[in-house]
Point group: C2
Chain length 84, copies 2
């Protein structure tokens, strides 16, 4: 069944304590190449039947209104993944 | 600065209560096209300097050992996003 992938990240101006904690821990574990880490969310919406424009539009609306908090998060991507 | 995006999802055989809750709520809000929802994580690792093969390998290791729990999660993608 086809899947729509929705990706949500905290807005750049919003503090991200989880990302910060990971960024602080990385050098202690030998990972020294990374200047910063931000943690967001990834949703997979399984679609019944075909991904029509209407379904994709519905996913965009759900992403904006339900899967993300527009005050603190941005929807960075809504894309279709043809699945097995 | 370039960014490495790491995507992590719960393994298919693992229950995902957050995804389930979203899937149950969607129809009540008028979103009826989706048969299921899974919720995972998306990390953005900011790279100091260039993304060499070594840095990408280091990101893959961090994704497998630190950003995901291999017992219950799969790393579904480690990719480079050339950023502004």
């Amino acid at each position: 069944m086809p899947t729509i992938v929705v990706e949500v990240m905290p807005k750049p101006e919003i503090l991200d304590p989880q990302g910060k904690a990971i960024a602080n821990a990385l050098p202690h574990l030998g990972f020294t190449s990374f200047a910063g880490v931000r943690q967001g969310k990834r949703f997979e919406l399984t679609v019944e039947g075909e991904v029509t424009d209407e379904v994709l539009e519905s996913a965009r609306t759900a992403a904006a209104e339900m899967l993300s908090n527009p005050v603190i998060e941005d929807v960075v991507s809504v894309s279709v993944k043809e699945d097995i």
